[in-house]
């Protein structure tokens, strides 16, 4: 595949590796140098970790560095930072914000989390009630956020808060970069049905955020948040995959190693899901090929729908296939996993965890609305709350 990598870029990577031997250079020093050399995310502008090259080249640059034994920039722990915060800061941030935040974000020195959802604002994200009140050059923020992954490790958060309750709900939101070490931030584990607490509730009490950490204009929070969410959906749907990888691989393994549990019906159902998983893989491949040609769009929503449904059907089938073994679980105790590995742990965990795939990052119901309205051009739902000041809405 390296043939596709423009020669100049290839040479640049080699020159960098010659000057910075991953085996002998201190981890952070090396990562910072890579950022400064524009080889972090090549599609970002020069000076901000990139070289302004097409996004399509990124995977290959990463591959070259991986092959050379480059240190990891905590990709898995900082998925929200890299996948959501960074592109949003790049698009909406001031020069000072980009300079301040992007480098330590990319190197993994500063982990990010997301403070969007609230108990009363799930699918209806624009209903967020967390208030931010201006006090001179700072904003004083109070409210409750939920479903925050990694909040207990995070240094910063992207935060959506209401700055004006007197206008209709979409217009009164503002987007902030919130320092999670502020004394008003209280992170509590949120236990979920698997037994563990992968997420957090975050209580904000008079948290001070300098106006210089506002991202985008006051009142423009909805637009900025939507850009973030589109990045999330592309990130979820856009991964390259090998045939029989992910959840289908787990179930196929279980099938192959449990001949005594096979029945004709389970065989037929597994073959049907194998076909669907393979088609989903090809659909992702086709979508990535489109993206590489600069044809992005909300089509990623279809991938997330399919991914959630298949994970759920496959993990459900796996428990039936396991029979007696499917009645057993690994561990209900309340743990705090560093990362989610859907295919790790046992089949029972996979089954329970996969239920969340159609809820987190936009429910399947919301995605179907998006597909129907944006891709098919069907009429939007009748909206009763569009023109009413937020503070007057029934809750």
């Amino acid at each position: 595949m390296n043939d596709d990598l423009p020669e100049e870029l290839h040479r640049r990577v080699e020159r960098f590796l010659a000057a910075h031997d991953p085996a002998t250079t201190e981890r952070l020093t090396w990562l910072r140098a890579r950022f400064d050399a524009g080889l972090a995310w090549v599609s970002f502008p020069a000076g901000l970790g990139g070289l302004g090259l097409p996004q399509a080249l990124q995977a290959e640059v990463d591959g070259l560095f991986d092959d050379a034994g480059a240190p990891d920039n905590r990709k898995k722990a900082n998925g929200i930072g890299l996948g959501m915060a960074a592109p949003t800061i790049l698009r909406f941030g001031t020069d000072a914000q980009k300079q301040r935040f992007l480098r330590p974000l990319w190197t993994g020195e500063e982990i990010w989390c997301q403070l969007f959802s609230e108990p009363g604002a799930g699918s209806d994200l624009a209903a967020v009630a967390t208030r931010a009140v201006r006090d001179g050059d700072t904003w004083v923020v109070s409210g409750q956020k939920v479903w925050t992954s990694g909040a207990h490790h995070a240094r910063f958060a992207i935060l959506l808060a209401r700055t004006n309750p007197d206008v209709p709900k979409h217009g009164g939101l503002t987007y902030f970069l919130c320092d999670m070490t502020d004394p008003g931030v209280d992170v509590r584990p949120l236990r979920q049905i698997t037994g563990e607490a992968e997420f957090n509730e975050v209580f904000l009490t008079d948290v001070s955020i300098p106006d210089s950490h506002r991202l985008g204009a006051e009142g423009a929070g909805w637009k900025v948040a939507n850009a973030t969410l589109n990045n999330e959906r592309v990130a979820i749907g856009g991964r390259a995959a090998l045939r029989e990888s992910g959840m289908i691989g787990e179930v196929v393994d279980t099938w192959r190693t449990n001949p005594q549990r096979r029945t004709p019906e389970l065989h037929a159902r597994l073959l049907g899901l194998w076909v669907e998983a393979e088609v989903a893989r090809l659909t992702g491949q086709r979508l990535r090929q489109k993206l590489a040609l600069g044809q992005p769009g909300p089509e990623g929503a279809t991938m997330k729908l399919t991914f959630a449904r298949l994970n759920q059907q496959l993990s459900g089938l796996e428990l039936e296939l396991l029979g007696e073994d499917g009645l057993r679980y690994s561990d209900w105790s309340m743990t705090r996993p560093d990362k989610v590995d859907m295919t790790g742990r046992d089949a029972g965990y996979r089954y329970l965890r996969a239920r969340g795939n159609s809820i987190e990052g936009g429910t399947s119901e919301i995605l179907r609305n998006i597909i129907a309205e944006r891709l098919l051009g069907l009429p939007a739902e009748p909206r009763v709350d569009k023109d009413i000041p937020w503070k007057e809405l029934p809750r």
């Binding site: 979920q192 007696e324 009645l327 057993r328 679980y329 809820i359 809405l393």
Partner: protein, 363 residues
């Protein structure tokens, strides 16, 4: 195959109310959730209130053997309510399966079960199909029993284990005091019906029934037939709770229950739950009537209700949104119960395959 009565009698309605009242007092969802962390303190008195005070332990036992002399129809109503509460009690394992088995034996164990002073469990994996292979323990000199059976339901609550033992003459059943067995709790997908691995090492047993295979299978068939009513209860809770939640929960300035896509899914779910009701009621009625059609009725009820209960619980999680994924909110108890119930007494595909043979629809 006459038309069995698929409705509820007034007596059954009264029984339902009594059970529901006891569960309201003694089976709080938070207390049920706590069993996942090994804390059963919130459920003190629950089983006694049901088994002894309401007399449910002896429901299926004839009056002349110390029971209430009721039928499988009443037991099914009890299971609907227990499913509705995801109640962690050994009614199905002791008062249905073990009891039906002991009805075929002459033993003073039955009156003790009926009185609620003793609790028993048949030593087979919960996933055992009524007509599938039966595990068995070896019997040595002097009736000493040795072997291990995994994933047994009701063993943790039982003081007596009913052990299928393979002998030269067939399968016999021995009673073993739980105190002399090695009962190791299993971390179970459904902790409201926690399983155990049971090991007998030269354990003393008392012969309860000699030629017992038919009785064991009848007990498992009764368990499978009535499990459908438990699954109905699980599904009804999921439907009712989700409908109530969606009437209250507002997003986009409207009650979520007014969004047509959700309404249609709930209408389909309602249709499915009403169908479960007919299938489960039919299996219970066939069992109560000693109908020859019972194996078909059971296979149909298990094939249908197992899947529908899972669908109901999965829809409940989904339609609750993030709240349905939390430990604090009880819907996960029903998801786990429904998924484990799907495997209990055989997965639905097993019942469908079994049906193919029963109705002459060969592959």
């Amino acid at each position: 195959m006459s038309d069995l009565d698929l409705l509820y009698s007034d007596v059954e309605d009264d029984l339902r109310s009594s059970v529901r009242n006891v569960l309201a007092d003694h089976c709080d969802p938070a207390a049920v959730t706590a069993v996942y962390d090994g804390d059963r303190s919130g459920l003190d008195g629950l089983w006694k209130a049901l088994a002894v005070d309401l007399g449910l332990a002896g429901l299926l036992v004839p009056e002349d053997r110390g029971g209430a002399g009721a039928s499988a129809r009443e037991a099914a109503v009890v299971l609907e309510e227990l499913g509705r509460a995801a109640a962690p009690v050994p009614f199905l394992t002791s008062s249905v399966v073990a009891t039906v088995l002991l009805l075929a034996a002459q033993t003073d164990l039955l009156p003790r079960l009926a009185a609620g002073t003793s609790t028993a469990s048949l030593l087979v994996p919960l996933s055992t199909v009524p007509d599938g292979p039966l595990p068995s323990i070896r019997v040595g000199a002097g009736g000493r029993l040795t072997g291990t059976i995994t994933s047994v339901a009701g063993a943790l609550e039982a003081d007596v284990l009913l052990v299928p033992v393979r002998t030269a003459a067939g399968i016999a059943v021995y009673a073993v005091d739980t105190a002399v067995a090695g009962v190791v709790p299993v971390v179970s997908l459904d902790m409201t019906r926690q399983l155990a691995d049971v090991t007998l090492a030269d354990a003393a047993g008392e012969l309860v029934l000699g030629d017992a295979e038919h009785a064991i299978r009848r007990a498992l068939e009764a368990g499978a037939a009535l499990l459908a009513s438990e699954q109905l209860g699980v599904a009804r809770w999921c439907l009712d709770t989700t409908v109530a939640f969606l009437k209250e929960r507002r997003q986009f300035g409207r009650a979520l229950g007014g969004f047509q896509a959700l309404k249609h899914r709930l209408a389909d779910l309602y249709t499915g739950v009403e169908s479960m009701n007919a299938a489960a009621r039919h299996a219970a009625a066939a069992l109560a009537a000693g109908d020859l059609d019972l194996p078909v009725a059971t296979a149909v009820a298990q094939a249908y209700c197992s899947d529908l209960a899972v669908t109901a619980a999965e829809e409940a999680v989904q339609l609750h949104g993030g709240i349905g994924m939390t430990w604090e909110y009880p819907v996960h108890l029903y998801l786990k119960r429904a998924k484990a119930d799907q495997i209990a007494f055989g997965t639905p595909d097993t019942h469908r395959a079994r049906l193919g043979a029963l109705i002459g629809l060969d592959s």
